[in-house]
Amino acid sequence: MPMSKGYQRILLPVVELVLFWQVLAMILKTPALPYPHEALWRFIHTGELMEHTWASLWRVLRAIVGSAGLAVPLGLWVGGSKVVFEMISPLLYLLYPIPKVAFLPVIMLVLGLGDAAKIFLMMLVIFFQILIAVVDARKGIDKHVIDSIATLGPTRWQLLRHVLLPAVLPRVLTAVRVSIGTSLAVLFFAETFGTELGLGYYITDAWMRLNYKDMFAGIIALSILGLGLFQSVNWLEAKLCRWRSL
């Protein structure tokens, strides 16, 4: 039976991955790597996993939306003015490669142990990736396009809505896509402190209890979360940037 391309893209690698996992588990024969069916069984039958997944998803979503909400306007401002760019960009490029995770203790001291600190840490990481992408995209907009639109007499808001935002949007989505992996890694780390909710906590807790089947159920949930976010960005891109794929 011929499979549609979408199915092939998702289903085939999943089957390959499970097969690889199965073979590895058979070779290693260690409780630390349970068989796929055991982990899957636990994944399906652990009711509390849902709660942890939602907690993590809600944190990541707030971090992504918050970062984009700050980075897009700032990036447009920095990339749109030569003077501002020259003043601010050296600082950006200096801060960009600094591993923000190291600041978790400081952030927790300031923002407390709650969600705020975890979201802020993720935002620190995602924010710079989106910001740099927007600055570059804004600088890359053809001056002729802006000039010829300017002669049509748009207000500043119209110029933003019809020209600048659509021009940087593809780069923003690419940056978000790239930062999903990083932000989940950061989330995992942040959720090991000061919370009893979230996949980071769930996985580490299972690990401490030496319950590897639970641990892998958590890893499966985290992977599905990442895949879901990734696919959502792809879907958004297909919807919002239809003109690019024609």
Binding site: L152, Q158, P166, R244, L246
Partner: protein
């Protein structure tokens, strides 16, 4: 058209008749643009009556586009005086449209959305563009994005967008240069027809002598940078191709440009 005498002074004689300055649709006097120490445009004066096409021709990089940007209000830092339909240049003027070399179409908007952009910005009804769309033969491609359009279709969309706001003056920067030879001729003819029907005063920047002679009532020859007016030629053969007079005219313009180029080389050698 005010022809320019040596030294840059005006002779307000237009096509042989004395006309009041107020009747001019375009009046540029002593336009000079400096970028720091560099003089990009030096003392350019030109003018046009309503419905005339002024073709500005000159070597590439000579500052033609800078002149156009000053007229469009995109470059406000110049000396001299520019009056367009009796007012100084400004961005977003309702009576003025511009078509740049690469058309400036937004790739994320369909042909229809691109055409209606000027009207939308002004909050006006966009249903009036239908006739224009039909006249330019664009009905079929309204829902397509720019990357799905051919060069000629993109050009038509750009023209439609420029004309949608019903301007009285049109500024064009090498609008036909990216088209293949056949499409170019077709578009020149289409533009010429529409321009005459609407009595659109037009400033056309071009590097093609043939195009200047086909479209321009007046041909302004600019020198290599800084851009200065070398000559202003009244073109009686407008709307014709392969007119015998064109051959003589293009010869003299070529000689003029070649002499200017040689002078530049000699000056550089000194």
């Amino acid at each position: 058209m005010l022809s320019l005498a040596e030294g840059g002074s005006f002779h307000p004689v237009i096509g042989g008749c004395d006309c009041g300055v107020t009747e001019l649709a375009l009046q540029v006097s002593n336009l000079t643009v400096r970028y720091g120490e560099n003089v990009a445009v030096e003392g350019i004066s030109l003018s046009a009556r309503r419905g005339e096409v002024v073709a500005i021709i000159g070597p590439s990089g000579c500052g033609k586009t800078t002149v156009l940007y000053c007229l469009a209000g995109l470059n406000q830092e110049f000396d001299g005086e520019v009056q367009i339909l009796g007012n100084p240049p400004a961005r977003g003027r309702r009576d003025l449209s511009i078509i740049l070399q690469d058309y400036g179409l937004l790739p994320w908007k369909t042909a229809k959305e691109n055409i209606e952009l000027g009207l939308r910005f002004r909050g006006e009804d966009s249903s009036q563009v239908e006739a224009l769309v039909e006249r330019l033969g664009l009905t079929e491609c309204l829902s397509r994005y720019p990357r799905q359009l051919s060069g000629g279709q993109k050009q038509r969309v750009a023209i439609a967008r420029a004309l949608s706001v019903e301007p009285r003056m049109l500024l064009m920067d090498e609008p036909f240069s990216a088209l293949d030879a056949l499409t170019r001729e077709e578009m020149q003819e289409l533009f010429s027809r529409v321009q005459r029907e609407l009595q659109l005063t037009t400033v056309l920047i071009t590097h093609s002598l043939e195009e200047a002679l086909f479209l321009g009532n007046w041909i302004v020859v600019l020198s290599n940078s800084p851009a200065k007016v070398l000559s202003v030629i009244e073109n009686s053969g407008v709307g014709k191709r392969n007119d015998p007079e064109h051959i003589a005219r293009s010869e003299s313009i070529r000689r003029l440009l070649a002499a200017d180029r040689n002078e530049g080389v000699n000056n550089a050698n000194v």
